[in-house]
Symmetry: C2
Subunit: 163 residues, 2 copies
DNA sequence: TTGCTCCTCACGTCACGTGAGGTGGC
DNA sequence: TTGCTCCTCACGTCACGTGAGGTGGC
């Protein structure tokens, strides 16, 4: 019954959350879902965490960034128990990861297009900013403003803006 | 008081949503928030939409993809009325867009890193798949499996997986 | 004793999803 | 008359945020 807190650095929930870059509420929520468990508790009921918990949080953060839901993350963490053989667990993980890889690739592509469209919209807006035309917004983003280089079309997406 | 529905193609909410690629519920929700309004109503109370509404929905979709919340989108749509001068409205839009451009760039970067990490994790998993070692998952993703090319480190993020 | 952190409810938020029960319109 | 679409509540969901009211621990 002697104290045995001399093994590893022990943190309260605030410190853990701070280091991991998440909110205290998030940590408690992850606990509700069974994603993480305090290493121990203080006499007063405070949650106490060791290094492994910090690593767990990093993994959770990483998988979230990959686009996994907390439910999917829970499934990953229990992949071993829920699959008959280790081979089957590995296949499951490989399937999940390659699906997410496809999603990431798709996202990168759409963000690339997004970047170009925002860029051209910004160019138009900056031209408008230095333009004294009365038709400014009336002509929808200087669509027929003389100062706009000709040949530069108004993206269809923006024609509806500002009514 | 004569009927005047001979101007433009009129759609019911299901058709509109289908063409725009959103749910019927979403269209009604956008209406609640004041983002879109039916062109007219049928005698029985059905919402009827014209072409402008479809364009509106496309703009909403685009701005959402850019990372704008529905509240921010509403502010964009009312930028003109809420700003004293047109110049001020244009400056506001330029500010919003360039902020989102930064966010998009940041996202592209993190997704790039993500892609690399998932890729290397997948490579390891595929090696494990064709590996008969008993230590398979025990050694955490074949971390010390002889079949893994040496020099290929186990990403720290994955050391916690599968316990 | 003062301050700061922690605790447990429990309701709020965002962008819809999902029935329940009823009606329009071809 | 049958089927499909539409209507309005209204509660559910996901991943937490945000108090309320109370206690631990240096």
């Amino acid at each position: 019954m002697a104290r045995r807190n001399r093994r590893k650095p022990i943190m309260q929930i605030g410190a853990l959350a701070g280091v991991a870059g998440v909110s205290v509420r998030a940590v408690r929520y992850y606990e509700e879902l069974g994603l993480i468990q305090p290493t121990s508790h203080s006499q007063g009921g405070f949650r106490l965490y060791g290094e492994e918990c910090l690593k767990r949080l990093h993994v959770i953060n990483f998988l979230k960034e990959m686009g996994l839901s907390l439910t999917e993350i829970r499934q990953i963490f229990s992949a071993r128990q829920s699959h008959g053989s280790d081979k089957s667990a590995v296949r499951y993980l490989a399937a999940v990861f390659s699906e997410k890889l496809n999603l990431v690739n798709a996202k990168i592509e759409t963000l690339g297009r997004m970047k170009a469209e925002i860029g051209s919209a910004l160019k138009m807006l900056r031209t408008c900013e230095s333009c004294d035309h009365k038709v400014l917004l009336d002509s929808i983003f200087c669509g027929d403003c003389a100062l706009l280089e000709s040949g530069e079309a108004v993206p269809d997406t923006f024609k509806v803006l500002l009514q």
